[in-house]
């Protein structure tokens, strides 16, 4: 172990110094340029982050892919657990933990056609007025 530290000491010190340098540079910049830090925090970066994690809308149904499971799609679009099951008359016992592609294949339906149907049903749900 002693031999390891003597041989690799230089490399590990360089890695540690590099890491500390980055952290301290960020801390110093943040301290001496508070205005710039506030601008960055409230600007594009944060908005992009918020957009990337916002509630998905009708225009986001294009994100759905055939490898996705119904369970995942329900989580993504905040659908009621049995909505797609009812709309698409799914009787497969594996629902909702089955992918669109596998279900389409088992049902002898074209995958892209079925994917389209799923997207349309989700669009219909998202377009419904919210009941208070």
């Amino acid at each position: 172990m002693k031999d390891f530290w003597s041989r690799h000491f230089k490399m590990l010190v360089i890695l540690l110094v590099f890491f500390l340098l980055i952290i301290s540079t960020l801390a110093i910049l943040s301290h001496y340029f508070p205005e710039e830090r506030r601008n960055i925090m409230s600007s594009h970066l944060i908005q992009v982050f918020q957009n990337n994690h916002g509630t998905l809308t009708v225009s986001d149904v294009v994100l759905i892919r055939s490898w996705m499971t119904f369970d995942y799609i329900n989580t993504l679009f905040r659908l009621p657990p049995d909505y797609l099951k009812t709309q698409l008359n799914i009787t497969d016992v594996h629902y909702p933990r089955i992918s669109i592609r596998t279900f389409a294949k088992n049902s002898h339906v074209d995958t892209s056609v079925f994917l389209n149907t799923v997207q349309e049903d989700i669009k219909s749900f998202l377009s419904m007025p919210v009941q208070k």
């Binding site: 690799h8 590990l12 890695l15 998905l56 995942y72």
Partner: protein, 193 residues
Amino acid sequence: MDYVLATTLSYLLIYKYLAFFVLLFLGSFILPLPDNLILLAVGAFASQGYFSFFLVLILAIITTTASDILGYVLTKKYEMLVLKFLHIPERHIKTANRYVEDYTGMTILVTRIAGPFGPAVNFIAGLIGVPWHTFLIYDFIGNFVDVILFMSAGFILGNYWLAYSDQISLVVGIIGTIIMIVFVATRWWKKRV
């Protein structure tokens, strides 16, 4: 999308943590699976509430380190038999051998993050007798950086991770290539001098 990646993602969504462990273990050990894209995807799934971010983070670091150690230990014990049995391409063995001998620490570290030489480097490290603590420390640091990098990128990209997955793979591939070129140039320069 690539059929292998699409199937991998389906299994991840169906079997969650178990699939994540198995796929990452096999990908790090020997199979040519898109490990970094899996980490990116799981980071995104975690941001959407489908996985627990910290749980998969810890699981990823443990899994990748464990599979790398397995590769290292196997060749340390059974030497060339392992390489022949696993049909590791000759050119991967020669390349990995050269770099592991000359730049042990950096080679182990960099191949955790970019390039296809990770498994070959694990086997070569065991074969040529790299000390276990040297291998473990650089392997752990490399895996830690790799997992944090890709999972955080996936978490930040969130719902739109798929749109950027190709660009991210390209950038990492370029960085890995640049690092390898620097190594080759340094080696050539040293020989010249």
